[in-house]
Symmetry: C2
Subunit: 319 residues, 2 copies
Amino acid sequence: MKRLLGIDLGGTTAKFAILTLEGEIQQKWSIKTDVTNDGKNIIPNIIESILQNLNVYGLSSNDVLGIGMGSPGAVDSKKGTVIGAYNLGWKTMQPVKDQIEAATGLPFFIDNDANVAALGERWKGAGEGEDNVIFVTLGTGVGGGVIVEGNLIHGAGAAGELGHINVDPNGYLCTCGNRGCLETVASATGVVRLALDFSKSDSEESEIKRLVDDGKEVTAKIVFDLAKQGDPLALKVVDQFSIYLGVACANMASILNPESIVIGGGVSAAGEILRENVEKYFLQYAFPPVKTSTKLKLAQLGNDAGVIGAAWLVKANYI
Amino acid sequence: MKRLLGIDLGGTTAKFAILTLEGEIQQKWSIKTDVTNDGKNIIPNIIESILQNLNVYGLSSNDVLGIGMGSPGAVDSKKGTVIGAYNLGWKTMQPVKDQIEAATGLPFFIDNDANVAALGERWKGAGEGEDNVIFVTLGTGVGGGVIVEGNLIHGAGAAGELGHINVDPNGYLCTCGNRGCLETVASATGVVRLALDFSKSDSEESEIKRLVDDGKEVTAKIVFDLAKQGDPLALKVVDQFSIYLGVACANMASILNPESIVIGGGVSAAGEILRENVEKYFLQYAFPPVKTSTKLKLAQLGNDAGVIGAAWLVKANYI
């Protein structure tokens, strides 16, 4: 029986998994990402690790259908190249597909990391078995992937930039240069930004205010944890965050009416308190037939979404 | 050579066209839509007109590949039924496909009218030759159609409800029951609503204000015509309209990055003044790579978009 090899390349580690054709993970391992020297060692290290581990698990290249990878940066999935992945040190064009295919003799497929996580959640996670799934990942930034009738959407190349949906034309300045992008208020740093702003203007008793006044660190996790405990300022921050994300989800749903919008990434670890608050505003602003046909769900695969989705990139080419 | 038969069914008239397989219109005609008796005569009248006109033009059913139709209401394109088309008098389920196929012996295909117009503009209009096109129609309401990799998107059934994208969570009440839908400010009635509201709060000299004070009618056409002449209040209305539509277009583009967003419908007859004002805010709020890869265009086919797109529904099933 053939296996799939999925790789989730990140700025800190590259995660690997060997999976069955049904998407069950059989083996997992990871290596550190060496971002020195403009990331020149990253691909050689990945190749070495693949060959070594196939050997360890008693597999030859005949046992593997192909290799899939999710990568940060601007990925050209047709050419198999990556450019502008600054957290890897990759400023110039990297011929990832050519390098890995030449060294392993296996077919190689690559896409943007958020797109690949979307494929993972759609294959084996919260969107399993559904044709149309939107995945929103709330991490350091906000990213996403859009799956329509089972296929990842690229449009003219940059589809799925869900973090740059505008939620407030007069809002905060975003790293992209625009004002009021979803990322400025719904990422981990965005939640903290809202908390700091609210604690300046709000006079109510609040643990967040105390932390700020004491010069202590406030994180998105602390904000959601305090909201669960009923802290009034934390609840206001969660409410404002939920209006922004709820309206953005309602708008995605009115445009595409997917069966699921799946919310993942580090911020989503807050869990049901996040989902139900976002759903409240989603239900207020989505087009009525969409309120019942599009469901808001939390991601289920955590860190495995990347390697599972990467494996799907391979499988999708053989079905 | 086989022909295509396209029908654009509306509340006032049903438009018909016979087209070549390349989408050239060879014959056009129309009949009045009889909305009396819950619209019971609509389909019999359409059937009679098809048979009569094929005869007039010396065509038998052997010369026609199939019939396509765009219809108002909630269309089930798989079953070929329509429900809730209130401007036709159709409250209950209408088995349109069954009736027309039984009477003509020709294969029949149907979709929502805005979706069909989108297909028309993508085949022979402003989006010709492009894989990914979003069509926004600004009429009495605001509708739309989303084409991804050449295919119309339905999602769970209600995709393309672009008029119900939220542009202001505290905005005007929409007929759908939500607040702040694009339709409340970018439809023909929406533009008038903005004009009336601005004329209440604005003290500047303005022809719109004079019309309102004299109890005369203000239309979207008058607002755009006065804006072209430099009327200060009309310019403010056009600016506010353009912020709403420009941000909505930017958001659609950040999600799907189509090659074109095509703006059609009666309000778009205002022309370049509308397009360039909407583009101004589109360029301010779209994700940077999207600003250059997604173009904002005016629709080109006018009233023919419907019959041409309806003919495409047939052709799409044979390519």
